[in-house]
Every structure is written in C-alpha cells, then in structure tokens.
C-alpha cells in the first residue's frame, strides 16, 4: 500500500516534470530542434520557427540541410555528430522564409541509447545582430585605414612632446622624409625656425588642456632643405578621464596658394609703383565713394593729402563748376559715375586748394569691376588743363589786342590819307605811298621784336633807307644804342619820316652837298630818363619861315609834344632847319 502510494506520487512527479519540460521546449527563448539519424527534422520549438519564419508544417519533416545556407557546413555538422562529437557554438548560417540569412551558433549532441542513434538535440542562438555589427565595424576600420593611407593631406599623431607616433604617406611627401624616418622625430625639429616657437607654444597649450585645437600657417624645412608653406590644424585626443592621449596634426600644402598670393602682391605692388610714378593725378575709391588710393600727382594737384577711407568722391578741397558756382563733392563726375554708371568724358571743373589757389581740370572717371562684373570701385584721372586755359585766355587777349591795333592803324591810314590829300593834292599818291610804306616798315621792326620795343638806331636806319642812295654819307648819326617802347618807336618813326621827307624835298638833302647831323644822348634826372635828340640841317638852300603849318609839321608837333609828352623846338634858320626834341624814355 505505502509502496503503491509512493509509486503513484513518483509517477505524478514524473508526469509534472514532463509537462515542465514540454513547456520549456515550446516556449523557451532558445531555439531548439531534434533531427533523426537521417537529418530529418522531428521537432522544432516556437523560438526556432519564429526565428526563421516557418510554420511547423513547412519545417518539421524536412531535411535540416534544406535550411542551411552552406552545404559544407551542415555536412560537417552531421558528420561530427554522427561520430559522437559534441558541438559547442558552431557558427552557421540559416535561410529564413523571407530569404534573409540568420547567423546562429549551434550547440548540439546525439542522444544514443544502447549505442543506437536516437536523435540530435540542437540548440541554436541567433547572433545575426552581433555578426553584422562586427562586419560593419571591420569595414569602417578598413575604410579609415585606407583614408589615412591614401589621403592627399598629411595626417600625423604625436605625443605630448611632439614626437610623431604615426604619420601617413602624404605627410611624408610634404616633409620629404619617409614614414619610417618621421616616426619618433619631433615636429619642432622639422619646423622653420621662425615658426617653431609659436607652434610649440600652441601645442603646449593643447597638451595642457588650455585649448582644444588650433590652426596656423607655418613652414616646414623639408629634407632637401627647401621650405614648404603649410596650413596646420592641430587637435588633441583625450582619455575618458580628460588627460591628453595624443595630438592629431592635419597638414595641407599651401605653397601654390602662397605663390599665387605673392604673385598677386607683386603685381599689385608694380601697378601701384606705376601709378605713383605717373605724372598725372590718379585716385581710386571703393563702391561707396570712399578714397582708397591716391598718387603723389593727385596730392600735388589737390594741394593736400586726402584721408584714406574717410574722404569721399574727390581728392580736392573744394570744387567749382567752370562758371565758378560751387560743385558739391557728391555731385562731381566721379560720384555720378559710381552712382549712375555714366562715365562722363570731357567735363571741366575747378578745384580750390587749401591755400586758395585754383586749378582747372578734366576728370576721366572710370568704373572698376570685379570678375563677376560688379562695381568694385572707380578710378579717376584728373588732367590739369590750367596752363591750356591760360594760353586760351592769352590768345583771346592777343586777338583783341591785334583787332585793336588793326582798327587804330586803319584810323591812322584814314587820317594820313585825308591830310595828305588836303596838303598836297597834286602829289597825293606819291606822298601817301611814302607815308604808308614808312608806317608799314615801323610795324615790321616792331613785329620783329614782338612789339616789345625797338632799337633807335635800327629805327632811324629804316626810315632813312628809302633815301640811302641819293644821300649816302649825308646823314651823320651819333648817339648811344637805345631801346624805345613800341609806342614811342612808332610815334618817333612817323616824326622822323616827316623830317627826312621835308629835308629831301626842300631842305639840306635837296642840294648836292647838304647834310643832316643827327645826334642824341640820354640824360637821367630824378630816376626818369630823358632822350635829347637834335636834327641839324646844313648845306641846303636858304631856309625861310614857312607861311602855313602843313600836315608834316602838325604831325611832328603832335606826336612829340602830345603823344610822347616831350618838348620840341623847330628853328627855321637860313643855314638850315634845326629840330631839337626831348622825349621821356623808359
């Protein structure tokens, strides 16, 4: 009886244990299946069916090999198991229903009963996520390594003292050393002496945690002793507790950029030198009209040095239109060009210097555009036309003066004509011609000296030349050489003409042996100069006091006394005419 109860209790416990096992088999999270000696699946639990996505009908009863991705793997597994081997975490790949591959680790052994193969029990753990993650990690690592090796910029890792721990080939190419030579070398030893201190100081701050990174331009001394310009970006990698682990130095070769920059600077310097040397006022402004540059000629023309970046539109102090009205700087041709794009040509303006002097100029404002065609500023050339304008004005004065002279001369001719006609109607043409020719010759003399004056000697010789042939050696002149003003010369010339004509017609020169003695001297009195001139005839026919005052006499009296404000005495002595005159000269 007790035994029966015990037996019953034992059976019940066995039945409960079988139920527990079945629950574990079905609902456990580990995948489990049984296969028979031929490899046919006898049973699979829910976890395994869920992992692969099959229903029990699609899975149970089929050969396990159908679900393996690698034939050789399942063959190996079955062979090992058949020979009694136990498998622990054997890696395999299973085919899920949706076509995806699941990575698993299989632990399995065969249940033998009395040496007979009953079945295999296979526990599979899904490791797909782990396998994929590992593969991705490996690929990333390889990629990084490739980048490091193939990069065209130099990358180096360095310790706290700056010794290279690792460098890539590009870093070697930049510095001209091999990777092997570089390892263990300090970056300070490769750096140009002028840049060494700065780089070392910044690196020290990086190591000590006072900065996270820095970027500088520096020079390396290459192995072949040449200098290379680089841009360096240096940063630090720190341990989780914040201590400096190693430095990362990224270096790019900027020699070409430096060369371009230098060429640009050189070309700019040359342009500037050229503009500075140009003997023409040149200045530039930015697009807002602020002066950015001016040359020496511009400062000279303006009479001042404009303030760069402050003065606007024009280098000048004050501006005026040609008519003298004020011209505000922001309305000058340069301002117009910048604001409207209209590059005015041929305009004129007047600038006033701080010292009050004025210059007339013509501006040539021209817009400067950048490579995109946008207005980047403007350049103005100021051509000083003051001298030209002055010459213009002088020419106008000269033309006015010439016009005046011509009109006065015509009035003189009119007078000579009228009076000649009155006094000698019978010999009008002859006397008129003589007088006009004499006047014309006096003009010739004056023109030769540009109306600045005339020598007394040459004036007298000219007047007497018409009578040279018949009276050779009969006019005896004595006196110092003397320059008379144009006006005095012209007036005295006319008076002399009347005297010689009279002498030739009626006086001493009308007789074969008559002579004229002409002498002059200059006397200085109280700063004023007076010329005394005596005309003395002798050897001619007896002279009588004339009954009337002819034109000739009137003209002599008029020009000497009135026009030249001189003194004149005419003595009609029987031996000959004596004319004494005294004229102020300059």
């Amino acid at each position: 009886m007790a035994t029966a109860i015990l037996e019953r209790t034992k059976k019940r416990a066995q039945a409960e244990a079988a139920l527990d096992f079945e629950d574990f088999f079905e609902n456990g999270s580990v995948c489990l299946h049984f296969v028979d000696a031929d490899g046919v699946i006898l049973h699979a639990n829910k976890a395994e069916l869920e992992l692969l996505g099959y229903s029990p009908d699609e899975y149970v009863g089929r050969h396990i090999g159908e679900f393996h991705a690698d034939e050789d793997v399942i063959a190996d597994i079955l062979r090992r198991l058949a020979s009694g081997e136990r498998l622990a975490r054997y890696p395999a790949r299973l085919k899920a229903k949706d076509g995806s591959i699941r990575h698993v680790q299989i632990s399995s052994s065969v249940r033998f009963c009395d040496g007979r193969f009953i079945n295999t029990r296979c526990f599979s753990v899904d490791v797909t996520a782990t396998v994929l993650a590992e593969a991705a990690r490996r690929e990333a690592e390889q990629r990084l390594a490739a980048t490091y090796e193939k990069a065209t910029i130099g990358i180096a890792e360095s310790d706290a003292e700056g010794r290279f721990l690792r460098v890539n080939p590009a870093f070697g190419e930049i510095t001209g050393y091999t990777v092997e030579e570089l390892i263990g070398t300090r970056f300070q030893d490769l750096t140009h002496s002028d840049d060494r201190r700065r780089d070392a100081m910044l690196y020290r701050e990086l190591v000590e945690g006072r900065r996270d990174q820095y970027a500088i331009e520096k020079r390396y001394l290459r192995k072949d002793a040449t200098i290379i310009h680089v841009e360096l970006l240096s940063s630090a990698v720190r341990t989780p507790d914040g201590r400096f682990d190693y430095g990362v130095r990224v270096v790019s070769d900027i020699s070409e950029r430096k060369r371009v920059e230098q060429r640009l600077q050189e070309s700019e310097r040359r342009s500037r030198e050229l503009l500075d040397a140009l003997p023409m006022a040149v200045y530039t402004t930015d697009p807002t009209g602020k002066i950015t540059y001016f040359n020496e000629a511009a400062a000279e023309l303006a009479g001042r040095r404009p303030e760069i970046g402050k003065d606007e539109w024009c280098v000048s102090w004050k501006l005026f239109w040609p008519d003298g009205t004020p011209l505000p700087h922001d309305q000058c041709p340069m301002a117009t060009a910048i604001r409207t794009g209209e590059e005015l040509r041929g305009a004129e303006a007047i600038l006033e210097r701080p010292d009050g002097t004025r210059r007339v100029f013509t501006p040539f404002p021209t817009l400067l555009r950048d490579s995109q065609g946008e207005v980047a500023g403007a350049i103005n050339v100021l051509v000083d036309i003051t001298a030209l304008k002055k010459a213009d004005d002088e020419q106008r004065v000269l033309i006015d003066e010439l016009n005046h002279r011509v009109k006065n001369t015509l009035a003189t001719v009119q007078s000579i004509s009228l009076h000649t006609h009155r006094s000698s109607p019978e010999a009008f043409v002859e006397r008129f011609e003589e007088r006009i020719v004499a006047l014309s010759k006096a003009h010739d003399l004056l023109t030769r000296r540009r109306w600045s004056g005339v020598g007394l000697g040459e004036l007298l010789e000219q007047e007497f030349a018409a009578y040279a042939d018949p009276v050779e050696g009969r006019i005896i002149m004595s006196g110092p050489e003397l320059t008379l003003s144009a006006r005095t010369g012209l007036a005295l010339g006319m008076a002399m003409h009347e005297l010689i004509t009279n002498a030739a017609k009626y006086g001493s020169l009308s007789a074969p042996d008559g002579v004229v003695r002409l002498s002059w001297a200059v006397e200085e009195r109280a700063g004023a100069r007076q010329m005394h001139l005596n005309w003395i005839e002798s050897g001619g026919p007896p002279v009588r006091q004339p009954e009337r005052r002819g034109f000739g006499r009137r003209l002599i009296e008029r020009t000497i006394q009135k026009d030249l404000r001189g003194d004149l005495t005419l003595e009609f002595e029987p031996s000959g005419l004596k004319a004494r005159m005294s004229i102020p000269v300059s």
Binding site: D400, K407, L410, A411, T412, H419, R487, K562, R565
Partner: protein, 112 residues
C-alpha cells in the same frame, strides 16, 4: 582823348568840319582828367585804351558831371566795361557822318 597823333588830328579836323570847337585834346588819362576838372565843354569823345591806361576814371568823372560821352575804340563794345555799355560807341575807323549822327543823338548844343 586819343593817344595816337594822326587819329587825334583826324578827329579834331572832323569836329572842326562839323562846326564844333575842340576845347581840349588829351593824349593821356592824367591830362584828360585835368581838362575835365578845368574846362567847360558839351560832349567828350573818349578812346578806351589811352597809352596803356584805361579811360574809366575819365568816364566816371564826366558821368558825375552829367557831360555826354561818346566812346571811340578799335576794340568795339568788347573792350568796354559794363558800366559804360549804354553809352554810344564809335568803331574806329569811322566816317564823318557817323560822328555827326552820334553828336546829334547826344544833343550837344554845338552839333545842332
């Protein structure tokens, strides 16, 4: 007032012919000014540029006395200051008839 002898003689003769009496004939500004101060006359004939000097002081003195002025010049109106623009001007050389007309216009008693 005329600084060139032959021209002065011509004008004097023309005035004589027109029945005028030449009270004074001057060849410089200073001389002219002294005549304006001392002499009495009905009309003045003035060259504009006299021996390098401008006639303006003489014209101003005459104007203040209300004496009619006729300008005679080779410059024409161009050489004249704005103050004298409204006065009659003879362009040298001129004819007797032109002088006569201007004298009549100036209502100088001698020209009547």
């Amino acid at each position: 007032v005329e600084d060139e002898g032959p021209v002065a003689m011509l004008i004097e003769d023309m005035l004589d012919e027109l029945g005028c009496r030449v009270v004074a004939s001057a060849a410089s500004v200073a001389e002219a000014l002294s005549h304006v101060a001392q002499d009495e006359f009905d009309v003045a004939l003035l060259d504009i540029n006299v021996a390098g000097e401008r006639i303006d002081p003489v014209a101003a003195a005459l104007q203040s006395q209300g004496i009619p002025i006729i300008f005679a010049s080779g410059y024409g109106t161009a050489g004249l200051q704005q103050d004298w623009e409204d006065f009659p001007i003879l362009q040298k050389p001129f004819r007797l008839q032109q002088l006569k007309e201007l004298l009549s216009a100036s209502q100088a008693p001698g020209s009547a």
